[in-house]
């Protein structure tokens, strides 16, 4: 029985994975091997300096923001340095820094009730990303890699002067790297399937981005393993299909209304992007490397930041993103709800398979 079941599975896989009939078109699949917000900093892009990234500096700024004078801050910090009662006193002040209707509330879950520490923004003119809105504004960047103007990446502008968000193209930010390392071992992998002209040729393609039931498989050194087989998660909340084009080895998806895929509580339960775009380049080993971008609800981003301590002054990030948000104004308040973002994505060759129907049913019940 087991052998027969296994045979049936193998047959199913072969059916699913064979090149598309017609010979001219093939389907090639890839698994996402790295994914994180892309912050591409350059020297001097924060002329006002980096936002205090160390705990002591953050606390001092927070105290000043709350209205404590320099002498009082020095006194409180001296107590904090000694530990014990002095440290508890500072902690108590910080815990009570968010106030609503005269009552202290949790500053992480009510960042709007914390005074804005006015984190410094990136002032550079260059970054990476996409022209999401087709307009040119003073806030736009010029793309460092393509030279294209009108790049919308306000998340970078808002957070790029915080140490743990700073990165380069070759070296991801500490926050991005940390989150990815947590996610890759715990969340189902994401799959990219490209159907179109055979490998290495230009032309129109269909691109499907979907979640797997399986985690990213790893080599013995921890690196992502190529040519593994992943079962598709049929959950419709994670299925994205777009028209794209491959030209000179670059896969492009022009503006699409929506991209949505189940993610992880460590980042956000769902990654929602509007005005979605994608640009990936394939290398000689068949690996895709590039960006996806769009406008993302910044409140969802904040709540991803709020429960991990690596990011720095978390209520400060709320205020920064709120001020930098550049899309989807609330009809009542006028406050923009979306912020332009760019995510780095790499993907390596993989196979996709339809899962056992019993597992599919289980997945659909979620």
């Amino acid at each position: 029985m087991a052998v027969r079941a296994a045979s049936a599975l193998a047959a199913t896989l072969i059916l699913c994975l064979s090149p598309t009939a017609g010979a001219a078109e093939t389907s090639r699949s890839f698994v996402v091997s790295f994914f994180a917000q892309q912050f591409t900093n350059q020297p001097g892009d924060c002329p006002g300096g980096i936002n205090p990234e160390d705990e002591r500096g953050q606390i001092s700024v927070a105290l000043r923001t709350m209205g404590y004078g320099p002498a009082e801050v020095r006194r409180l910090m001296a107590g904090w340095d000694k530990g014990g009662e002095g440290e508890r006193r500072v902690a108590e002040i910080l815990e009570r820094r968010a106030v609503i209707n005269g009552e202290p509330v949790n500053p992480m879950t009510h960042p709007e009730a914390v005074p804005d520490p006015n984190l410094k923004f990136v002032s550079a003119q260059k970054s990476v990303g996409f022209d999401l809105d087709g307009r040119r504004t003073a806030e736009d960047f010029i793309d460092l890699r393509t030279g294209v103007a009108g790049i919308d990446n306000q998340l970078f502008r808002a957070l790029g002067c915080n140490q743990n968000f700073r990165g380069t193209w070759t070296s991801p930010s500490a926050y991005g790297e940390w989150v990815w390392v947590q996610l890759r071992d715990s969340q189902p992998a994401w799959l990219l399937t490209i159907t179109g002209p055979s490998s290495g040729r230009d032309g129109l393609v269909k691109v499907r981005i979907q979640r797997s039931l399986d985690r990213l498989s790893a080599n013995m050194d921890g690196s992502p393993r190529a040519h593994s087989t992943y079962r598709l998660d049929p959950d419709p909340r994670s299925i994205n299909e777009f028209d794209g084009v491959i030209k000179d080895g670059v896969l492009t998806i022009s503006r699409q209304p929506k991209f949505s895929i189940l993610w992880n509580g460590l980042s956000a339960p769902v990654l929602n992007l509007s005005d979605f775009q994608l640009r990936l380049q394939q290398d000689a080993r068949g690996q895709w490397d590039g960006l996806i971008g769009g406008f993302q609800p910044w409140r969802e981003l904040y709540f991803a930041f709020s429960h991990n301590g690596i990011v720095g002054d978390r209520p400060g990030l709320w205020h920064a993103m709120k001020k930098a948000a550049d899309h989807d104004p609330d009809p009542r308040t006028g406050q923009n709800l979306g912020i332009s973002v760019a995510y780095r994505l790499t993907a390596i060759p993989a196979f996709v398979a339809v899962a056992d129907p019993r597992l599919r049913s289980a997945s659909a019940k979620r």
Partner: protein, 574 residues
């Protein structure tokens, strides 16, 4: 009285206790390898001289599992056996045991005996009686247990003197320890550390059909048959047949062979043979540079071995396929992890974290893989840690699969050119080997080894497919004994059709069955088996049946007076 019989009589008859308190030093080999051939026209079968052989680690594990169940933890590893004539099983006939190795046997014996008799759950299964008082010796109960277990362990009934010795030892220990089971456990441990268990020691008897000649006695015959077909000791039914003399008649012997050939345990026998012939013990020490071959971990190594064994069992036993087709078959079995190395789709269709399952898989017609030469169990096993070696792979084809001997390299040979994978001038291994082979003393051997290995250069050191090395396209053309090929698939077909392939299998299987390399004196037997194998359509089970059915398989010559048995067991017993 010949020397062999004298020796065996000594072993069987001598009163001794193999005490768990004694460090046993076995200083010498239990084999008589260098037996000179007698003049022979090669048309007459001259029985090989009798040899004792040590249980291989697999056989030890299997016998303990058979008798006491798979739940018993052996608690250690056995000393490795050296390979002779391409087989560990042959090496087991010429193996020596070091003092440290004997200590290990002793420790394992104690561990096993303790589990069997000191753990209540196991004791209920294996102890057929209850002592009158568990704090005292009980001769009757000890005798019953030790006689039953002893017959399975020694693969023959214990002589009365042996049984008396073990029962007495158990009695003394039980009394001293105030615990019947602990005392009995010490006697069981003594049995497990006894040469009668650890070594397969054939006993000869006069052959009534051949005046002045000898054959194995019934129990030795049962052992030879069982270890050949099942790679374990005789089961109770085979021991019964031996006891009742059924194995002395062709009909009785055939009935037992038929039974054993029908048994699912034949698969283990087939696996053991190929594991030995294909040198899969080398997986235990195989290492790969994780920077260069990050996919190939211990898990993939184990899977690679299992893939080939499953393929062989499926092709040869389940499908009844032609042995030669194992070199060209597209059908195999894969796990998801192994499939990633082969770059083919096999899903892990179970919740994350579950153990991976094997699935049948057929490589596509245009896939470069076919047959066991394209398995990682060949390409990765016969590659150094950080690169490929066409020479090693070619040598393995010649020696392991074709039973040919390739001379060792000259002592002063320089391998620097071949091993420099970063050489900017010679960027492919073919180029490096060509540069290396300009040395006349090297060129001859490389000509017979390298072409097959070069045809497998599409598979890197972990068995993963590639088309280029250092950016240069790989040329996989060559020839085997003048038959050309251009790629791994064509090589597989050429190997499949080479007459040395089935011929070698017969040679290896005959040596495996006898536990020793066969010489010119037994040439007629091997020749007959080759003919039968060919006529059967190269059916390996039929070859096994043919060997097991022939009376020559059970014939043996005693040691000649000039042969000094190297068996020197010091300090055995008191």
């Amino acid at each position: 009285m010949n020397r062999a019989r004298t020796l065996f009589d000594w072993l069987r008859g001598r009163k001794r206790v193999v005490s768990v308190f004694t460090v046993l030093a076995v200083g010498a080999a239990l084999a008589w390898l260098l037996s000179p051939s007698t003049p022979n026209s090669a048309k007459v079968f001259v029985p090989p001289q009798v040899k004792a052989s040590r249980l291989t680690p697999e056989q030890y594990r299997a016998v303990i599992g058979d008798i006491f169940g798979p739940q018993i933890d052996l608690g250690g590893r056995l000393e490795p056996v050296m390979r002779v004539g391409g087989l560990l099983t042959v090496g087991a006939s010429s193996v020596s045991v070091t003092a440290a190795g004997m200590e290990q046997f002793d420790a394992m014996a104690e561990a096993i005996a303790d589990q069997v008799l000191l753990q209540a759950a196991n004791r209920q299964i294996f102890l057929p009686c209850k002592p009158a008082d568990p704090r005292k010796a009980d001769e009757g109960c000890a005798r019953l247990f030790l006689s039953r277990v002893g017959e399975r362990l020694f693969r023959r009934p214990l002589s009365e003197s042996e049984l008396r010795t073990f029962v007495a030892a158990a009695g003394v220990a039980s009394t001293k320890l105030g615990d019947f089971h602990a005392g009995l456990s010490m006697s069981l441990a003594a049995m497990l550390a006894s040469p009668q268990f650890l070594f397969r020691i054939p006993v000869l008897e006069e052959d009534p059909g051949r005046s002045g000649a000898f054959r194995l006695d019934g129990y030795s015959k049962a052992s030879r048959l069982s270890f050949f077909l099942w790679n374990t000791g005789p089961d109770p039914e085979l021991l019964r047949a031996a006891r009742e003399g059924e194995l002395e008649s062709n009909r009785g012997l055939r009935r037992q062979i038929d039974r054993m050939m029908r048994s699912p345990r034949l698969e283990e026998g087939l696996r053991a043979f190929f594991r030995d012939m294909l040198q899969f013990d080398a997986f235990e020490t195989l290492s790969k540079d994780p920077m260069l071959f990050p996919k190939f971990s211990r898990r993939e190594m184990a899977d690679a071995e299992e893939q080939t064994l499953r393929t062989l069992v499926d092709h040869l036993l389940v499908r009844g396929g032609d042995y030669r087709d194992v070199f060209t078959t597209k059908q195999t079995f894969l796990t998801p992890s192994l499939a990633a190395i082969y770059q083919v789709p096999v899903a892990h269709d179970a919740p994350n974290g579950d153990i991976e399952e094997w699935v049948p898989f057929e490589f596509a017609a245009d896939d470069p893989r076919a047959g066991i030469l394209s398995h990682a169990s060949f390409t990765a096993l016969h590659s150094p840690p950080g690169r490929t070696s066409p020479t090693e792979r070619g040598k393995a084809v010649r020696e392991v699969l074709m039973c040919q001997t390739v001379p060792a390299p000259p002592p002063d040979v320089q391998f620097t050119v071949v091993q420099n994978t970063a050489d900017p001038v010679h960027r492919t291994v073919r180029q490096r080997l060509l540069a290396h082979a300009t040395v006349p003393s090297c060129a001859g051997c490389h000509r017979v080894m390298d072409p097959m290995g070069l045809a497998l250069e599409n598979f890197d050191g972990s068995g993963e497919f590639r088309t280029a090395e250092n950016g240069v396209g790989i040329d996989t053309s060559g020839d085997l004994d003048g038959v050309p090929f251009t790629n791994p698939l064509e090589l597989a077909a050429v190997v499949r059709d080479n007459p040395a392939i089935p011929s070698c299998l017969v040679k290896r299987m005959a040596a495996y069955a006898f536990g020793q390399e066969l010489t010119q004196d037994q040439r007629v037997f091997v020749k007959d088996m080759r003919k039968l194998f060919r006529e059967s359509g190269y059916q390996v089970p039929e070859l096994m049946r043919a060997i097991a059915s022939r009376e020559e398989f059970y014939q043996a010559a005693p040691l000649r007076p000039s042969d000094e048995p190297p068996m020197r067991m010091a300090a055995i017993g008191k």
